[in-house]
């Protein structure tokens, strides 16, 4: 008989529509590390027209999509699940939103011809289509997940995102563009929600964030979170190689 550890319930939102840039790697990382920590991960895929109980999940993930898919999801948020997801954010469910998913948490996305596509508005941020695509390796410094650490990834977006007053960025850009290429901020953190432009996939090379999400999920559900130390040598090597590479290329 194999002892099964505490359950951790993960909701993968729109896996069929929002999976640019290997976003599914983030869900693979959450599931694997949960297993290695001795937890029992359950992953549900949730798509258009489904009405999930977001409060019953410990971690929710949404990736990026192409313009067309993003519009379908925008409609689905308005008609079906936007307010429930907003409630989950306020209730401190752990949420990771990448790129298009990140933009949709805000007030609106303004397209190149001035049209405003509404988001769910749970976070006071907005995105404006820029003329230039912001593409390349990114290094961010952050203390949002404990002691000061680096986050590495790759960004590829034309939307420029601005945070309202009182919202905290995920970290400071050391290399790359970040939210808008102007103010040096990257991403957002609010309660247990993380929004970011970093893909690559984000979590596998940044195990500190993966473990942070798992910990927040466990804390909210069980009131405690004991994660065992794992051997991160391969991940650390990739993380450090990414920093090295980004710095050499930038020179």
């Amino acid at each position: 008989m194999i002892a099964i550890g505490p359950q951790i319930r993960i909701c993968h939102l729109y896996p069929d529509l929002m999976n640019m840039y290997g976003d599914r790697g983030n869900v693979i990382a959450l599931r694997r590390r949960a297993e290695w920590h001795g937890l029992d991960p359950i992953v549900d895929e949730v798509s258009l027209d489904d009405r999930p109980d977001f409060l019953g999940y410990d971690i929710v993930f949404i990736g990026g999509g192409q313009d067309r898919e993003q519009r379908l999801i925008c409609l689905d948020f308005q008609r079906v699940k936007g307010s429930a997801l907003a409630e989950a954010v306020e209730d401190a469910v752990a949420l990771l939103a990448i790129c298009g998913g990140y933009q949709l948490l805000g007030q609106y996305y303004q397209t190149a011809n001035g049209e405003q596509v509404p988001g769910i508005g749970v976070l006071d941020l907005w995105t404006v289509a820029g003329k230039k695509r912001l593409i390349g390796n990114v290094i961010v410094e952050t203390d949002a997940f404990g002691p000061l650490t680096t986050v590495v990834g790759f960004e590829n977006h034309s939307g420029q995102t601005y945070l309202g007053q009182g919202l905290k960025e995920m970290g400071r850009v050391v290399l790359g563009y970040g939210n808008n290429g102007e103010d040096g901020g990257e991403g957002v953190v609010y309660r247990n929600t993380i929004g970011t432009y970093l893909h690559g996939s984000l979590l596998p090379k940044n195990p500190a964030i993966t473990d942070h999400l798992l910990k927040q999920g466990l804390l909210r559900r069980y009131g405690q979170a004991d994660l065992r130390p794992l051997d991160n040598s391969i991940e650390t090597r990739a993380h450090e190689a990414a920093i090295r590479r980004a710095r050499t290329k930038a020179r």
């Binding site: 990382a29 192409q66 590829n156």
Partner: protein, 475 residues
Amino acid sequence: MAPSRRIEGPLGPRGLVAVWLAKSIIRLSRVLGLGGSTFPGTVARRLAPGILGALSAGLPKGVILVTGTNGKTTTARMIAGVLRAAGLKVVHNRSGANLITGVTAAFIDATDWRGRLDADIGLVECDEATVPKAVSELPVRILLVTNFFRDQLDRFGELAHTVELVRSGAARLDDGARLLLNADDPLVAGIGRNVDIPAVYYGIDDERQGAPRMVQAREAKHCLECGEPYDYKVYYYAHLGKYRCPRCGRDRPRPDVAATAIELDEVSGSRLTVRTADGPELDLTISLPGLYNAYNALAAATAGLAAGAGPEAIRSGLAEASSSFGRMEPIDVDGRRVLIALVKNPVGFNEVVRTVLGDRGAKRLVIAINDNYADGTDVSWLWDVDFEQLAAAHAEIDFVVTSGIRAEDMAVRLKYAGVETNRISVEEDISAALALALGRVEAGQTLYVLPTYTAMLEVRRVIQRMGYARPFWQA
């Protein structure tokens, strides 16, 4: 129809100097053992920007352009075989350098020192983003589009943008040109509905080859016209299949050239029965494995028919088409069998992994991932490859050496797929990685080497230096 904006006309003294200079560089780089498949083109175009138009203007049968995400090189090589079997002299960028500079270099390489091109027809494999430029410079009579998958998004932006690039190129074709489109890919077939150029569709009409559910990364789940999810009667692979929109009724065009029966056989070769619109039924045999190569052969047969090749030329040309440069190419290294298979996007990589798993016995692999421009600078697509199916065969995995600029990323991917970490070695340097792997392979055993494009060039250089492979311009 808009008049042609093509830059044509005599070569002129500048053009002639450009030809000499580029040909000299090509000669020199061969003597030095370098590939040099694009640089001479860059130099020539700098000197004489209209050179490609000038060289190709005199081709009696114009140019066939082949584009799409997967299968370009293999399909173009099959078409070359068919055209030659039909008695035509072909100028072809066969090394796979498919940006405009590479195409220019290939055309210059084929001219004589007086700048004359002794060929009947041009055959150009072309990067999707290069299609508009290629159409504006070359006398394209036939544009063949194979399929659209996610590939190097950092370069093309979103897939929709890639499709639009090809469509806008197609819209600029001259009167009398024809489109050859894969009916089974909604993204490709959609191009035919959005331009005024007549289209010939090809597709598979053997539902035994399909599945009722889609298992791989998906691209075109929703109707291009109205956004409703398509109903698929059958999926052949990824999003290729028989689809129909339940809301607006848009459906797969009926193929003019259809494979009505396919028998896949790795050993004796796959057999296809092909129905043509008004011609005879064709029985084709190809020596390349997998359904994706059946698609390539079907595309090549369609192009052959469009170019006027007869049934016998199509049959014999396809039968002889050998495995393309770097694609599952076996090399004998002191009794050890080294199989090199190019990997460049999730769908192609999945097919390669499936083929590797189809072989019996222990699996020994080198996976070399570079992130140079030609590979795509963003390697996040590795997370869309189903390495979990490789990890599921863990008892058979002897070792995997990850290599290339992104060796570490590949190692992380394998770890998270479930490959045991004590089977994974990381060696960034490709030469050292091959030495390490070959040291662990005995005579009679097989080593699989799966590199991205620029990593493949490196792999071949290393193996060539060891004295085992021919330079690729002779391949």
